[in-house]
Symmetry: C2
Subunit: 388 residues, 2 copies
């Protein structure tokens, strides 16, 4: 641990079977009008919508609704919400759903009272937020992004074919988030494993950077191990409460800024996936899995000791009688085997990409430099070609 850092995460988490009971008390800190923000029909068919509306009514809140937030939330949807907030003087945006809904809520929070073009200002130029911020809170129903306890907001600009992630400061973090693992029982296996891989990818993006010894790396390993062990249980029994709760909490901890402290961090896989997602609308976790394997095989030799540690610590690869390269590659083979075991889709073809998209995806990918190797656009394209 060498780099200086500041750590401050004031999101309040209510976790467990009875966590929704905390909503009433939390609401008393906010004004009269709540904008309920959600996706398509899932929360209506499982009864959560009715429960939340009932609590809001009992608390005497006026409710405005923004529904239909899509998996990769668009700037258009965000602006629809921003207008609703202004028109109704909304005092709390309550996101009920997964990361997309919460990301969208944060985008609305900073955009409602922004007098310039918010997308240009916040997601292209990454400017600071100076205008009024509307408080956000969340009730989580899908697991993976960690958006329930951070400032991240990934928004897709359809017209520009550009999916951009932005980390906002703590004022934009959810004030509170309610996490009930039971809400995730009905999430499909496809979405569950996509979410788990998203969690694991967040962890690996932080892990595969820097030399030296860092408590953050030990923490990351522990969350990777817990993710792997618990998804195996949940694949067998999707209603195993313990497994689903560990999966849920792992996802939150994997991206609440804790595990990346003092590290430069990589995030190149996410940069490539964002553009892949902008062109294909694929499930985020599946896109990450597709890109991860060729990416790590391409760069591992630049951070060989960390990939050896990954192989032995996470996958139990025995180092005896093997070269570092052999150990590292065996670890990546184990990761690939795990994606197959979970039914994670790693073929770009199946995810809706065509080969002619690749140059455009590669060209529009942001190149970072925090990991073990700074890629060129040609290398990005080469990695994408190996995903077919």
């Amino acid at each position: 641990m060498q780099l200086d850092f500041s750590y401050y995460n004031p999101t309040k988490i209510h976790f467990g079977k009875d966590s929704l009971a905390k909503l009433k008390d939390e609401l008393s800190d906010y004004g009269d009008t709540v904008m309920l923000t959600y996706g398509r029909n899932a929360i209506k068919s499982n009864g959560l919508y009715d429960q939340v509306i009932s609590i809001l009514n009992k608390a005497g809140k006026k409710v405005v609704e923004l529904s239909g937030v899509m998996p990769n939330p668009t700037y258009e949807k965000l602006m629809e919400g921003a207008k609703l907030v202004r028109d109704n003087d909304v005092s709390l945006i309550l996101a009920v759903g997964g990361g997309s809904v919460i990301d969208c809520a944060k985008g609305i929070s900073v955009s409602a009272y922004c007098e310039e073009d918010p997308f240009q200002k916040y997601w292209v130029e990454f400017q600071d937020v100076a205008n009024k911020i509307v408080p956000v809170a969340s009730i989580l129903t899908m697991v993976g992004t960690g958006s329930e306890m951070n400032g991240g907001s990934v928004i897709t600009h359809d017209e520009m074919k550009y999916k951009a992630g932005r980390v906002f400061p703590v004022d934009v973090y959810p004030k509170f988030s309610i996490l009930n693992p039971e809400y995730t029982f009905t999430v499909s296996q496809y979405q569950m494993v996509s979410g788990v891989f998203d969690t694991m990818s967040h962890l690996m993006e932080q892990y595969f950077s820097d030399e030296g010894v860092n408590t953050s790396d030990y923490l990351i390993e522990s969350l990777l191990k817990s993710s792997i062990a618990n998804v195996r249980v949940a694949l067998n029994d999707p209603k195993d409460y313990e497994a689903r709760s560990n999966i849920m909490w792992n996802a939150t901890l994997a991206l609440n800024t804790l595990t990346g402290l003092s590290k430069t961090q990589d995030w190149q896989v996410h940069m490539i996936e964002h553009q892949l997602g902008a062109y294909t609308d694929c499930a985020h976790g599946m896109g990450l899995a597709a890109v991860s394997l060729p990416y790590y095989r391409h760069i591992y030799s630049n951070g060989i000791d960390k990939f050896v540690r990954f192989a032995t610590e996470i996958w139990g690869v025995s180092p005896e009688g093997k070269t570092k390269d052999e150990i590292a590659l065996e670890g990546l083979d184990a990761l690939e085997q795990f994606t197959k075991e979970c039914g994670i889709v790693t073929s770009l073809e199946e995810l809706g990409a065509t080969k002619d998209m690749l140059p455009k995806i590669a060209e529009s990918t942001i190149i970072l430099g925090g990991g073990y190797k700074k890629l060129t656009t040609e290398e990005v394209q080469g990695i994408l070609e190996e995903c077919f």
Copy 2:
């Protein structure tokens, strides 16, 4: 992970070589008068006192001083500080030192405006805090207690021969804590290993409870491993910045409530040590080490699977061809060997206890029930007898 929990930790951490530079900005959130609270001469001889005074002066603060806070801070010292706070209308208590100084500052924070007997009310009857709370902040110079990011406050009532710990709610947590690993370079080896064992004991108190699979247990294992690996480096080179910084951050994370979430937790070792400390004034971490080994050997069979996991995961004990008992006990032997390797004192005689104290220590020990076995007073005495 089965138990519901709420998690909310709004302490802001500034960590690293240049972290003291953050003090000036933080001070702007508070009123005119700061009470600088510290121990004996350490911060004067290493120059930190002058640096802090200079920043306070430049920020235009009036400074009141409470010095001489002792290793096991007394109620008498706390009341001296409480009077200073009232008499000077102090708006921020800035603790510069280790856990004792910060614990004392929190005690002062809740006691200054308490109209009853604060010790009776808060540390004996564990009542809620209804009176005004004075904000606390810290600059950490000794590592181990985790007091820099939690609500814990352990106070010793000399007259009553009673050392009592209390966890206050988030309003009493330090508003910000500044952690510079370089401040710990001059801490003696004795104090360093005592602090590391304190960290490890916090982790083990949380770990050795419950059945089942819990992300918190994985997190605990990661911090135990990091503690063991890094103290070995620091024993060899006390000025290894990386090792000292990992040791420092491990201590904070081990007791900022994160790693115990969803667990019942044990804390019986701390209860015994508190009374041992009340009678001997021994270094907290050394007292914990002395009690831990006979305690865990006494109770391990009631939580055998967890002790097996401890042996294999933390100490690399090979399970092949061994019974669970053999594996578990081999893990505890490894823990004992580690205490010897670090020069940790585990003999009660060396820590200043005499055999005639034991019945009184045992009788006054609070018995909890969160771990694998609820002790009787006779068992506590038996454990203490084995520490000679």
